[in-house]
C-alpha cells in the first residue's frame, strides 16, 4: 500500500482530534468558566417561592374601639404587561372588563399606566410588571360577586385580568380620623430595594400617610415564605425551607375616637358658622380650612387631631380615581389630603404673647408685677393696637387677658434697642427669639406621623437667608416701571435692608405676626409646656403595640426638656390665661356659662391678601390642667368669635355639658391598655 491512504486517514485523524478538543473546550467553558451563572440559573429553575402575605395589624383607639380593620374583598386586577402582548394592545379585553365592572375603558387604561414623566394621575405607582387593582367588591356583595364570576367563568375572554379574594382595609368610623390613620399604597419599584422595606414583596401595599406609614414596619408583620422545589411542569417535588408568617402587631392609639368625633364635629360646625359670619372688611368669612388638636398636657399624648376639609380614606382602596385624586390635592377645594394639624403653618398671632411675656420677664428687663402703658398707637413704629383702643397703664395679666399689642411692642422694641437696634451689637440676646426656640418653635415636635412641618421662627439668620435668596428678584422689582409705585417702594426697601431686623420686625415678632409660622400641633406643645409646669413634650399618637401573642409594647411619653421659665412665671401666665375666658377677657363671650375653668389665649393672625387666621390655644382645668386644646380656622376672623367658641364646644363635648354627655369624663384617658383576647379580638381596657 502506498502512503496516500495513510495521508487521507491522517486528515480524518486531525478532524477527530479537532472535534474532540472543541467539545472539551466548550465543556470546560460551560462548567468551570461560566459555571456559577448556570448554577444560579439551575437554582432559579427549580426553586419557587410561595408567599403567604402577613395579616396587617389593625388600629384601635385608646378604649379599644376599632379604627382600621381588615376585611376580605374581591379585587379585579389588570396586568398591563399581559395586555400589551395582545395583538391589539389589549383594547378589546379592556373594553370587555370595562363593561363588566362598569368603569369607562379609557379610565381603566389610565389607571394601569405607570406613573412617571408627564403621566398625570390616576396612574399606577407600583411596579410596572404587577397587576393593577382596578375595582373592588365586598366579598358579600352579591352584585360584585356576580360581576367577578362573569370574568372568572370566561377566563379565555379576559387574558391578563384576574379577580381574587384579597384582604383590604376597612374603616368602621368612615372618615373619622382619616388624616391620622392615613392610607395604603403600592410599594414603588425604587422602594423595594431600601432597607426599611426589607422583606416586603413587590406586590405589597405599604403605609403612605398617617399612622399606617409611621408604624408601617410594626403593622405589616413579615410574610411567610415557602421555598419549594419544583420540576419543569411546576409540580412540587419537595420543600427546601419555610419561614412562618408573622402577623403585624395591633396598634393602639392614644386617640379617643369619641373625642376625635367631638373635635371633628366642632371644627366642621365652626367653619359652617364662620361662613355665615361677617369679616372685619364686611364680607362673609371664607373659613376655608381649620384644625383642632387635643393633647394630654402632661404626657403629650394626642387625644384628638382634626383637620378640615377631610376625606374618606376608602377612596384609596384599589387606588383613587382621577377625579377623586384631583379633588384630594386641589388647592381650590382646600386640598383635603393636607393634614393641617401638623403640615399647615400659620402665623400664631396673639397666642404667641405668652412666649413674649415669658421672654420679657425671664430676660430680667421687666418685672412680673410691673405695670406697663397700653396706648392705642406705639409711637416709635407707628403701629396700632389690634382694635386701636388704649387701656392706660396695665399689668401683664391685663395685657394678656385683653390682648394689648402695644405693651408687647414696647417690650420688643426696647429689647431690640438694647441689642443695638439697627446696628446690632456683639453678644445679641434676642430674648423673644430664644424663648420661641426654647418652646420648640421652628423645629418639628417629633410627633409619630409623617409629613410634619417645622414652621419658622423669623430670627435674624432667617431674614438673612430669605434676603439672599430673593434679593435678585426684589431689587429688579424695585426699578420695574410696570409695577405700581407702592410695590416698587416695598421692593426697594427689601432690596436695601431686607436682611436686617428692624424695629418694626421686632415688634411684629412679639405679637406672632410677620414671618413666624407654627403648626397647630406646635402651638399645642407650647401650651402643654405652659400647662404642665414647663416640660416640653413630644406629642405621640401611638399608645402601644400589641403583638399577636398578646404582649404589649407601650410607646412611652417622651419629654424633650424644660423651658427656661421660672415656675412662678408659668403660674402667673396660667392664671392670666384663666382670665381670658372670664368677663373682660377676649374669649369671655365664647365661654360664657361654661362649667369648666378654661385658660387660653385668642389670636387673630393677619395674612396678606387673606382674612385673619382665627386661633384659640387653651388648657383645662385652668387650676390643674389635664388637656390642651388648640383650635384654628384659616380665614376665620378673630380668635374670640370663631376659634374660641369652637374650642368651647370641644371642651363641652369632652367633659360634658348640660344636655350633652361627656365623651371622656374627667378628660382622662384610660390608664390601662386594651388587650388581645385568646381569639385575637381586642378587649377594651380593664375588660376581659
Amino acid at each position: 500500500m502506498s502512503d496516500r491512504p495513510q495521508l487521507r486517514l491522517f486528515v480524518l485523524r486531525v478532524l477527530v482530534v479537532t472535534i474532540l478538543a472543541t467539545l472539551f473546550g466548550r465543556l470546560w467553558f460551560l462548567q468551570v468558566y461560566a459555571g456559577v451563572d448556570y448554577d444560579r440559573a439551575a437554582s432559579a429553575n427549580r426553586i419557587r417561592e410561595v408567599v403567604e402575605p402577613a395579616r396587617r395589624g389593625e388600629v384601635y383607639d385608646a378604649r379599644g374601639v376599632p379604627l382600621v380593620r381588615n376585611r376580605t374583598a374581591l379585587v379585579v386586577s389588570i396586568s398591563r404587561a399581559a395586555l400589551q402582548r395582545q395583538s391589539d394592545g389589549g383594547s378589546a379585553v379592556l373594553a370587555r372588563v370595562a363593561d363588566v365592572i362598569d368603569v369607562p375603558a379609557d379610565l381603566l387604561a389610565r389607571q394601569i399606566t405607570p406613573c412617571g414623566g408627564r403621566v398625570e394621575p390616576p396612574c399606577w405607582r407600583g411596579s410596572p410588571q404587577l397587576p393593577v387593582p382596578v375595582q373592588e367588591y365586598a366579598a358579600d356583595d352579591p352584585d360584585g360577586v356576580r360581576r367577578v364570576l362573569r370574568i372568572e367563568e370566561r377566563r379565555e375572554d379576559f387574558p391578563g385580568v384576574s379577580a381574587e379574594l384579597t384582604a383590604v382595609r376597612d374603616y368602621p368610623g368612615g372618615a373619622l380620623g382619616a388624616h391620622l390613620l392615613g392610607y395604603l399604597g403600592p410599594i414603588s419599584p425604587q422602594e423595594t430595594g431600601l432597607p426599611e422595606y426589607a422583606g416586603v414583596r413587590a406586590t405589597a401595599l405599604v403605609g403612605r400617610a398617617g399612622v399606617e406609614a409611621a408604624y408601617d414596619r410594626d403593622l405589616r408583620g413579615s410574610d411567610g415564605v415557602q421555598r419549594l422545589f419544583v420540576d419543569s411542569l411546576g409540580a412540587v417535588t419537595g420543600v427546601q425551607g419555610e419561614t412562618a408568617t408573622q402577623p403585624g402587631s395591633t396598634l393602639v392609639l392614644s386617640v379617643d375616637s369619641a373625642v376625635q368625633r367631638v373635635a371633628e364635629q366642632a371644627l366642621e360646625r365652626a367653619i359652617r358658622t364662620a361662613r355665615a359670619t361677617p369679616s372685619r372688611a364686611g364680607d362673609l368669612l371664607t373659613a376655608d380650612s381649620g384644625s383642632v388638636v387635643v393633647l394630654e398636657a402632661k404626657t403629650g399624648r394626642v387625644v384628638a387631631m382634626a383637620s378640615y376639609p377631610s376625606y374618606d380614606p376608602s377612596v384609596f382602596l384599589g387606588g383613587a380615581t382621577p377625579g377623586e385624586y384631583a379633588e384630594l390635592v386641589d388647592e381650590a377645594r382646600g386640598a383635603p389630603l393636607l393634614f393641617r394639624a401638623i403640615a399647615g403653618t400659620y402665623a400664631p398671632a396673639s397666642t404667641f404673647k405668652v412666649i413674649s411675656a415669658a421672654a420679657a420677664v425671664q430676660s430680667g428687663d421687666y418685672r412680673l408685677d410691673g405695670r406697663y402703658p397700653c396706648p392705642a398707637v406705639f409711637e416709635p413704629t407707628g403701629q396700632r393696637n389690634f382694635d386701636s383702643t388704649a387701656l392706660g397703664v396695665i399689668d401683664l395679666r391685663t395685657a394678656l387677658v385683653k390682648s394689648c399689642d402695644t405693651v408687647f411692642y414696647a417690650f420688643a422694641y426696647e429689647q431690640w434697642l438694647r441689642d443695638g437696634g439697627n446696628r446690632p451689637v456683639a453678644g445679641l440676646r434676642d430674648p423673644m427669639v430664644r424663648m420661641a426656640q426654647a418652646f420648640g418653635l421652628g423645629e418639628r415636635t417629633g410627633v409619630d406621623l409623617p409629613g410634619e412641618r417645622r414652621g419658622t421662627v423669623a430670627d435674624r439668620a432667617y431674614r438673612q437667608r430669605v434676603w439672599e435668596e430673593t434679593r435678585g428678584n426684589r431689587c429688579a422689582g424695585a426699578v420695574n416701571p410696570a409695577l405700581p409705585e407702592e410695590r416698587r417702594a416695598a421692593n426697594r426697601e427689601f432690596c436695601e435692608e431686607g436682611n436686617r431686623l428692624r424695629g418694626g420686625d421686632a415688634t411684629n415678632f412679639a405679637i406672632g405676626q410677620g414671618d413666624t409660622l407654627v403648626t397647630p400641633l406646635q402651638l399645642a406643645a407650647v401650651y402643654a409646656a405652659l400647662a404642665n409646669g414647663g416640660t416640653i413634650v413630644e406629642p405621640h399618637v401611638g399608645r402601644a403595640l400589641l403583638a399577636p401573642d398578646g404582649t404589649a409594647r407601650e410607646i412611652d411619653p417622651v419629654m424633650r426638656g424644660r423651658v427656661p421659665v421660672a415656675p412662678e412665671v408659668l403660674a402667673y401666665l396660667r392664671e392670666a390665661l384663666g382670665g381670658v375666658t372670664q368677663p373682660g377677657g377676649t374669649a369671655a363671650g365664647a365661654f360664657a356659662g361654661s362649667g369648666l375653668a378654661v385658660a387660653g389665649k385668642t389670636g387673630s393672625g393677619e395674612v396678606a391678601g387673606k382674612q385673619d387666621t382665627s386661633w384659640f390655644a387653651s388648657f383645662a382645668p385652668a387650676a390643674d390642667p389635664e388637656l390642651v386644646v388648640v383650635g384654628m380656622v384659616s380665614q376665620g376672623g378673630t380668635g374670640g368669635t370663631v376659634a374660641a367658641p369652637m374650642v368651647r364646644e370641644v371642651y363641652d363635648g369632652i367633659y360634658g355639658a348640660p344636655g350633652r354627655e361627656a365623651a371622656l369624663p374627667g378628660g382622662r384617658l384610660p390608664a390601662l391598655l386594651p388587650t388581645v383576647r385568646p381569639d385575637g379580638s381586642i378587649a377594651p381596657p380593664g375588660l376581659p
Binding site: P5, L12, V16, L20, T22, L23, L27, Q31, A41
Partner: protein
C-alpha cells in the same frame, strides 16, 4: 448498476482467523473495553435520567435501564456475529442489508410508520419494540459504499468520476428517504459519512470540495424554499439565538446548558442533578443524555465520556490504517467518520454549539436501533482488526 455480489477474490493470507480462543485473544480489547465502559456509563445515565419520572409515575424505576441493557445484550450478540463472519463475505450480505434498510425507510413513510417528536422515523414492530430504519441505513451505507469503492480501488489509485457518481447514487436513495421523514440529523451524518469514505478512498479534492459546496447550497435553499418543516427552521433559529424564545424552540438548548453549566467540576452526584430530577430537559435519556453526565458527574464525568469516545475513534483509525485491504479500511474509516460526526452533533447541541437535531450519542443514548447499529459497527471494526496484518 448491479447490487449483486461481485465475483469473489482470492483471500489474503493475513485474513485468516484462527480458533475461537485465538480470536478472543486477538480482539482489540482496548476498543472493546472502551465501548463496554461507554455502554456501562450510558446505562447509569439512562437510569438517572428516567428514574425520577418513573418513580413519579409509580412505575419500576429501573424499567428504562433494564430495557437499555437488554438492547445492549442484543447488540452484543449481533455484533459478535458481525465480528466473526469474514467481512469479505459481507459482499454477499451488503446488498441485502442495503435493500432491507431502504425498504424499512420506505415503510416508515407509509402508515406503518409512527411519528415521535415531530419525526416520522419509527416502525412499531410490536412487543414494545420500535425499529428506526435510519440507524440501520448508516450501517448499510458504510458497507455498500466501501464495497463499491473497494472493488475499483484495488486496481486504481483514485476512484473515477463514474465510481463516485455511482456511490453518490447509492447514498442518495437512503438520504432522500430519511429527508422525507424528516430527520435532518441523520441526513447530516450520512453526508459526513459519504464524504469521509470518499476522501479516504482517494476521491479527488475537487469532488470532495464540490460535494461540500453542494451540500451547503442544498441546505440554504432547503431553508429558503420551505422544504424543511417549521419545527426544523425554528430549531435552527433558536440555535442562532437561544434566548429568542426560551419557552419554545430554544428551551431544550437553554435547559441543557443550564444543566451542564451547573454541574461544575465534579458534578452534583449521580441521581442528584436538579435539572435531571426535575425533568427540565425533554428527551434526556436519548438525544440529551450528555446533559446528565454534565450535570451529575461534572467536568470529570463529561471529559471521561469524551476520553472514552476518543479511545474508540483512535482504535477505529488504527484499525483503518492497518486494514488488510481497501474494503476493510473504508469500512473502518466510514464507521469512524459516522461516530465522530454523530458524537460532535449530539454533544455539540447539548453544549449549545450545534443546532438541536434528533441524534443519539453512540453507545450512551437510550434506543435499541441505534445501539444495535453502533455495536454492529464496532463488530465490523473488530472484524477488520482480526484480519489485519499487525494485530
Amino acid at each position: 448498476m448491479s447490487l449483486l455480489p461481485p465475483p469473489s477474490r482470492p483471500a489474503r493470507p493475513s485474513g485468516r482467523v484462527g480458533s475461537s480462543e485465538a480470536v478472543l485473544w486477538r480482539l482489540d480489547w482496548v476498543l472493546a473495553l472502551a465501548v463496554a465502559s461507554l455502554v456501562g456509563l450510558g446505562s447509569l445515565l439512562v437510569w438517572s435520567a428516567t428514574r425520577q419520572r418513573l418513580i413519579d409515575a409509580d412505575l419500576d424505576p429501573q424499567a428504562f435501564v433494564k430495557r437499555h441493557l437488554l438492547n445492549a445484550l442484543i447488540g452484543l450478540v449481533v455484533a459478535s456475529a458481525a465480528a466473526l463472519v469474514d467481512y469479505r463475505s459481507l459482499h454477499a450480505y451488503a446488498p441485502v442489508v442495503y435493500v432491507a434498510s431502504c425498504l424499512g425507510l420506505v415503510a416508515v413513510l407509509t402508515p406503518l410508520g409512527s411519528t415521535i417528536n415531530g419525526a416520522h422515523s419509527w416502525i412499531v414492530v410490536g412487543g414494545g419494540f420500535q425499529v428506526q430504519p435510519a440507524e440501520l441505513a448508516k450501517l448499510a451505507l458504510v458497507i455498500g459504499m466501501s464495497m463499491l469503492l473497494a472493488d475499483k480501488r484495488d486496481r486504481e489509485e483514485t476512484p473515477s468520476a463514474g465510481d463516485i457518481l455511482l456511490v453518490l447514487a447509492l447514498a442518495a436513495v437512503p438520504m432522500a428517504l430519511v429527508m422525507l421523514q424528516p430527520d435532518l440529523g441523520t441526513v447530516l451524518v450520512l453526508v459526513f459519512l459519504v464524504l469521509g469514505v470518499l476522501s479516504v478512498a482517494g476521491a479527488p479534492a475537487v469532488w470532495v470540495g464540490g460535494l461540500v459546496l453542494a451540500g451547503v447550497l442544498v441546505s440554504v435553499s432547503a431553508v429558503q424554499l420551505g422544504v424543511l418543516d417549521d419545527y426544523q427552521v425554528k430549531r435552527f433559529a433558536a440555535f442562532a439565538n437561544p434566548e429568542l424564545d426560551p419557552r419554545g424552540a430554544g428551551y431544550n438548548s437553554n435547559q441543557a446548558r443550564i444543566a451542564i453549566g451547573s454541574g461544575g467540576l465534579l458534578g452534583k452526584g449521580l441521581f442528584q442533578g436538579t435539572q435531571t430530577r426535575g425533568s427540565f430537559i425533554p428527551e434526556q435519556q436519548t438525544d440529551f443524555i450528555f446533559t446528565v453526565a454534565g450535570e451529575e458527574l461534572g467536568l470529570l464525568g463529561g471529559s471521561t465520556l469524551l476520553a472514552l469516545l476518543a479511545v474508540v475513534l483512535w482504535r477505529g483509525l488504527q484499525i483503518a490504517s492497518r486494514a488488510p485491504d481497501t474494503f476493510g479500511r473504508l469500512v473502518a474509516a466510514g464507521v469512524v467518520a459516522w461516530f465522530t460526526f454523530q458524537s460532535f452533533v449530539n454533544i455539540g447541541m447539548t453544549l449549545g454549539i450545534m443546532p438541536v437535531t434528533g441524534l443519539p450519542l453512540p453507545f450512551v443514548s437510550y434506543g435499541g436501533s441505534a445501539m444495535l447499529a453502533n455495536l454492529v459497527a464496532v463488530g465490523l471494526l473488530q472484524n477488520v482488526h482480526l484480519r489485519s496484518r499487525e494485530p
